[in-house]
């Protein structure tokens, strides 16, 4: 073995990478070669020296300073984290929001004056002022629904009267055999529609 080879083995030895066979070969060479022995000793000293390095600690308040520099939670990140923690809750609340949103837009779209009645010819309809009148001598059989307008009952309605975003004026001569309802809240409108749907389903 020449000294160059020995040097390679020395480094492998310091890496704890030598087989037993290679170790004994190296030992043999080192016994006979002063230069390599000195070199080996010197390299070992380098390691000892490095490992004698003093322990270094981060300065005080290091963690605080790091935290102070972190990007603040943006709205998007806030929701992302919320999503991770309560996926069902967030999904449910989003669903409700969307439904409410579409409900509102449906409701808000209908700013038109609308009248639902089985016998419009019995009624006085003033579309300029968005009013409907059930004249005193008239009897209307069936439900009347007025939307975005008012209804004045001077006659008789054999059914329900519903005003959505409007008022029902019942005159002294007026009479409603069914129910009289004024709806001006979105929720009530939704509830009203639900009721209607259920009633229609069960009839």
């Amino acid at each position: 073995m020449n000294c160059h080879q020995a040097n390679d083995l020395i480094h492998s030895y310091l890496d704890e990478d030598l087989t037993e066979h290679e170790q004994s070969e190296l030992k043999q060479h080192l016994c006979q070669c002063v230069d390599c022995r000195t070199h080996f000793h010197g390299l070992r000293q380098v390691i000892v020296f490095l490992q004698s390095a003093s322990h270094v600690y981060a300065p005080e308040n290091f963690t605080e300073k790091v935290m102070a520099q972190l990007p603040k939670d943006t709205f998007v990140q806030f929701w992302k984290k919320r999503m991770h923690r309560h996926p069902l809750l967030v999904a449910a609340s989003l669903f409700v929001l969307l439904m409410a949103g579409s409900t509102y837009s449906l409701w808000a779209d209908d700013k038109q004056f609308l009248l639902t009645t089985p016998r419009p010819e019995h009624l006085q309809i003033n579309s300029d002022q968005n009013t409907v009148v059930v004249p005193a001598d008239q009897t209307v059989a069936g439900d009347i629904v007025v939307r975005n307008g008012d209804i004045k009952i001077e006659g008789t309605v054999e059914g329900n009267v519903v005003a959505i975003d409007g008022h029902i004026f019942l005159a002294s001569t007026g009479h409603i055999t069914g129910e009289k309802e004024e709806i001006s809240q979105v929720v009530e409108w939704v509830w009203y529609n639900l009721k209607q749907t259920v009633m229609n389903l069960t009839h």
Binding site: H11, V46, Q51, S52, A53, S54, V56, Y57, P71, K81
Partner: protein
């Protein structure tokens, strides 16, 4: 067996605001130590160490849990240090050329660095800062490996993962690093 780091990272991702400071506490000395040994002064070390944790926080989504967390954070710290050293030494002459006959040293090392003071309060009791002086004499790519191997006790495969270099390259650089330091220290 789930590591502490994995548990902390899970908590961080869920939005637990106390989890990230715990992670910083766990690694702050190690990272500051590496930065200090790479850069040679306390102020820059603190800046780079802080930057390391900020990067970790910003990139948690990209962290690949099949690697050890320590590997990842050491990589970030080492790269930041090397970039910083490159910026620091920008000059008209190319100082990256290796010095003939002195493996592991380049012209940066041969010229005195005015930024580095001979003593630093951080190194009280360490042969008057001789270890730091010796480490400073190595070029960054050898310096980082010697620091990770002998000051942070990483294994060769851990260093290989951290620096994304093959183990054979790591071994070669350690050998050359040891030779260079032996010369520098007259051992």
């Amino acid at each position: 067996m789930v590591s502490i780091e994995e548990k902390l990272i899970k908590r961080i991702k869920k939005g637990d605001r106390d989890a990230f400071p715990e992670l910083v506490e766990l690694y702050k000395d190690k990272i500051y130590h590496v930065a200090y040994r790479m850069l040679g002064n306390a102020q820059e070390a603190e800046d780079i160490a802080q930057e390391t944790f900020i990067r970790v926080y910003a990139n948690l989504e990209n962290y690949d849990p099949s690697y050890k967390f320590s590997t990842w954070i050491y990589r970030i710290a080492t790269n930041l240090c090397i970039d910083h050293l490159r910026k620091r030494k920008q000059s008209v002459y190319s100082l990256d050329k290796p010095v003939e006959g002195a493996e592991g040293l380049d012209w940066h090392d041969r010229l005195a660095d005015p930024d580095l003071g001979p003593e630093d309060r951080v190194l009280e009791g360490e042969f008057h800062g001789q270890v730091q002086e010796a480490i400073d004499s190595l070029s960054p790519k050898y310096r980082s490996i010697m620091i990770l191997r002998y000051l942070e006790d990483l294994s060769l495969s851990e260093i290989s993962d951290a620096l994304k270099l093959p183990v054979t390259t790591i071994k070669t650089r350690i050998h050359r690093g040891r030779e260079a330091l032996k010369k520098k220290l007259n051992l």
